[in-house]
Symmetry: C2
Subunit: 165 residues, 2 copies
DNA sequence: TATTGTTATACTCTATAACTATA
DNA sequence: TATAGTTATAGAGTATAACAATA
């Protein structure tokens, strides 16, 4: 079965046969898939009253382990969004009672963002649904394909400068 | 070499050993990579005074072949953005003199968007740089890995409802 | 001087809906 | 009634820069 990029590559082959546009077959699909997957992920989030940004913040705090606390700078590095977006996300999460902001002990400039009991309960409840949703999204791939895909994506990420922490 | 998702999966293994979060290894990497690749693509666009949305419109018109004309609805389907975004993109492209909007002959409600000579020259010039940039982004993969990646992504896209045209 | 977090600006996009002109 | 395109609203993100407090 053909996808949209099959159509696009066909058009380019006809219009610009001088150009090798095969890279588009990878990058174009990457872009479209990321969009479609994003839409699918929202379904599980909204079932818990969350959106992507909120889930991202709560999950990052959750997986950091007890006491479920990080600085805004740490959340920024993990989420790949700008500092302004982090401030706004935290404003909303704080208003909902899911996180607290307290001055850092060790750094007078710093702030520590921590999950409240309500925030912890929420992310603990949303997490299994999110993981099940991701499994559903990947259901068309074999175990081997999934492993191979993860490894190829990692190779690309490392080459583009992605790093742990 | 480790990437960010190696770190994330490690944290989840420690915090929620009851959950199989391996799907995150695929979907998380997909999301981060799409973001990083997007940033890299902008470099080639901005060298020609374009942004992602503008390049997207011009390239879609270009590959449709002579007379390089499509309806806003056609551009919307190809680009996966909302109708409001299309209207705004076309407003900007029209103001720059790169596309024209003329009433459709066959449908009184319709509009035909067409590349101007300037728009055609611009996209023809930008295209080889864009393709070279995509090749650079994928340089860390072998030919076989690229082909396999494209095929796996296509499989996922088709399963999620992506289709030609 | 540099860093932390917040605030501000202008812009692009989202989702949703209303609106017109036409089919 | 439905469709094509535009317009409008509120909200979340971008990039960039400025800012106060602290290191």
């Amino acid at each position: 079965m053909a996808d949209h990029l099959d159509f696009v590559l066909d058009q380019w082959a006809r219009e610009r046969p001088d150009l090798d546009v095969s890279a588009m077959g990878v990058i174009g699909r990457l872009s479209r898939l990321s969009r479609l997957v994003g839409t699918e992920l929202e379904k599980a989030f909204s079932a818990h009253g969350l959106d992507r940004g909120a889930f991202d913040m709560l999950a990052t705090l959750r997986r950091s382990g007890p006491p479920f606390a990080l600085t805004p700078a740490g959340l920024m590095r993990a989420s790949m969004v700008t500092s302004g977006a982090i401030t706004q996300r935290l404003d909303r999460l704080e208003a909902r009672g899911w996180v607290t902001r307290t001055p850092s002990d060790s750094d007078g400039r710093g702030v520590v963002v921590a999950l409240t009991d309500e925030g912890l309960a929420l992310i603990n409840a949303a997490l299994p649904d999110h993981v099940a949703n991701e499994e559903r999204i990947l259901a068309s791939l074999s175990t081997e394909q999934r492993a191979q895909l993860a490894e190829t994506l990692r190779q690309l990420l490392v080459a583009l400068g992605d790093s742990p922490a």
